[in-house]
């Protein structure tokens, strides 16, 4: 096993959180720099707030008019649509209006308020990285773009000759090469950690109540919209998804929270597993025998969880 002792790690405030990039090897420093630059590009392309991002342009573009977007934005939109279809709308990127109404996102200037009925089916993907909206909706990639940025940063490290590294964007992470020990925070006590074991060539994303505001009844609200009930969600659990890509892990944490009954059918199609921690204990999703994976299953070696997965 490679030693991680001569690893270089850097951290910068990006994507609304702290992004940490670690790499091993001679070319580590310039590779890390390139990885951060890639994350900055993803941020600029997919930000809801920045007025000239692909997403902001799409949100104020006239309906039924094809908009050219960057190939990377198109890739994220394609994955989002695939996950929306498979989860029957539990995951939906057209919830920007509800997030603005709930005060989690600032209202975009010069953009018409979206229709109450808008959903992911109103977004069409055309050829040559063109997309169009059929009904007024505000697309927000907050539930998936961070994972994509992590994937792109990891790919950038690899392209720059790094064979062992990690990218961690505020808890959404991807590790490759030397196995990395991963810990998950307890949803109700941030000083308590659970060991998830080691991870190689796989991603982990968590969605949890740490650091969100507590309400009087003990529940917490966070920027996750339940599309059917049109409200932001209150919850008291932590959902962790292990998947072949961080984009998938990031998006599937929302599917597990919003469609817990269907999640065991959806997760295996993406080669993903989930771990839920709440007041009742720890739950895991079992690996399905009939996995129709969209990627190689993660090389995930659980510490002491072998018997339950």
């Amino acid at each position: 096993m490679k030693s991680l002792s001569n690893e270089i790690r850097r951290a910068r405030p990006l994507l609304g959180t702290l992004v940490e990039v670690g790499a091993l090897g001679e070319n580590a420093a310039p590779a890390i720099e390139a990885a951060f630059r890639e994350i900055e590009i993803i941020h600029r392309l997919m930000s809801f707030h920045e007025i000239d991002s692909d997403i902001a342009r799409l949100n104020r573009a006239p309906l039924l008019t094809a908009q050219q977007v960057d190939a990377r934005t198109y890739e994220v939109l394609s994955w989002a649509q695939k996950i929306s279809a498979l989860s029957d709308g539990a995951f939906d990127i057209t919830v920007g209006g509800k997030l603005v109404a709930a005060g989690f996102l600032p209202k975009p200037e010069d953009a018409e308020w979206p229709s109450e009925e808008a959903n992911f089916r109103d977004l069409s993907l055309l050829s040559d990285n063109r997309v169009l909206l059929r009904r007024r909706a505000w697309v927000d990639l907050g539930g998936i773009a961070k994972g994509y940025a992590v994937d792109r940063a990891a790919a950038t490290l690899k392209r720059n000759g790094v064979d062992s590294g990690i990218v961690n964007a505020g808890g959404d992470l991807y590790a490759f090469g030397a196995p990395q020990p991963i810990h998950i925070r307890h949803p109700e006590d941030a000083s308590q950690l659970f060991s998830l074991g080691t991870l190689t060539d796989a991603a982990v994303a968590s969605s949890s109540g740490c650091f969100t505001e507590r309400r009087e009844d003990g529940s917490s609200a966070d920027p996750l919209v339940e599309p059917r009930r049109n409200t932001t969600v209150r919850w008291q659990q932590s959902v962790t998804v292990v998947a072949p890509r961080c984009l998938i892990a990031d998006a599937l944490t929302k599917v597990v929270r919003l469609a817990p009954r269907r999640a065991p059918k959806i997760l295996p199609q993406f080669g993903a597993q989930a771990i839920i921690i709440d007041g009742r204990g720890v739950r895991c999703i079992a690996q399905s025998a009939r996995r129709r994976s969209l990627g190689n299953p993660p090389r995930f070696r659980p510490a002491q969880m072998q018997e339950i997965i």
């Binding site: 991680l4 850097r10 951290a11 910068r12 405030p13 990006l14 609304g16 959180t17 702290l18 940490e20 670690g22 990690i166 961690n168 505020g170 808890g171 959404d172 992470l173 590790a175 990395q180 020990p181 991963i182 810990h183 998950i184 925070r185 949803p187 941030a190 000083s191 308590q192 950690l193 659970f194 060991s195 998830l196 968590s206 969605s207 949890s208 740490c210 650091f211 969100t212 932590s238 962790t240 817990p260 065991p264 059918k265 295996p268 839920i276 204990g281 720890v282 739950r283 895991c284 999703i285 079992a286 690996q287 399905s288 025998a289 009939r290 510490a303 002491q304 969880m305 018997e307 339950i308």
Partner: protein
């Protein structure tokens, strides 16, 4: 064919015991390393300044942020830029970071130097924080070095964003 399903694990046989970490820390760069990372190959000269009360009030007014320290750790770069080491304190976290400014006062790059988090009283305790400033990985705090990669930590960088706003106001009021 076996289908996937949720498996509940009774609390009594929790497979993954919780580890308690009252403090967590990561060190990324020393001040010198950050200078080279942001201004590679450039000469930097220390140019520390102490703000007057009037300047501190004006910076607070412009940035809408508290000015906790009147002593500013500032370096001037040969190319006309500036390098500032600053710190922000949250409820649980204490972060030192460096901001590189271009000659025109725009942000060139931000690098985190150290990140510390604590669930005791320590973060707001000056002695506890003092032991980290300018230190490298050999910080004299007992930390579990196996804990490197934490998921489920939706850390906000709001404090850093506020800190950078304050640094930019400081540039306007006191560096130019």
């Amino acid at each position: 064919m076996r289908t996937a399903q949720w498996t509940w694990l009774p609390a009594a046989c929790l497979p993954v015991a919780a580890i308690s970490i009252p403090a967590y820390a990561a060190t990324y760069l020393t001040v010198e390393q950050a200078q080279q990372a942001i201004f590679p190959g450039e000469k930097l000269a220390p140019a520390n300044i102490t703000l007057t009360n009037e300047q501190a009030r004006e910076i607070a007014r412009r940035s809408d942020a508290n000015v906790r320290h009147k002593d500013i750790k500032l370096w001037k770069v040969a190319n006309g830029g500036f390098f500032v080491v600053d710190e922000v304190v949250g409820k649980h976290e204490f972060i030192t970071y460096a901001v590189g400014l271009n000659a025109d006062g725009t942000v060139k790059q931000i690098e985190i130097l150290t990140y510390r988090e604590s669930y005791g009283y320590e973060v707001r305790n000056a002695d506890w924080r003092a032991q980290f400033v300018g230190k490298n990985a050999a910080a004299p705090l007992k930390l579990n070095t196996d804990i490197k990669n934490i998921s489920g930590a939706t850390l906000s960088c709001r404090h850093i964003a506020d800190g950078v706003k304050r640094v930019l106001a400081t540039y306007e009021v006191a560096f130019k």
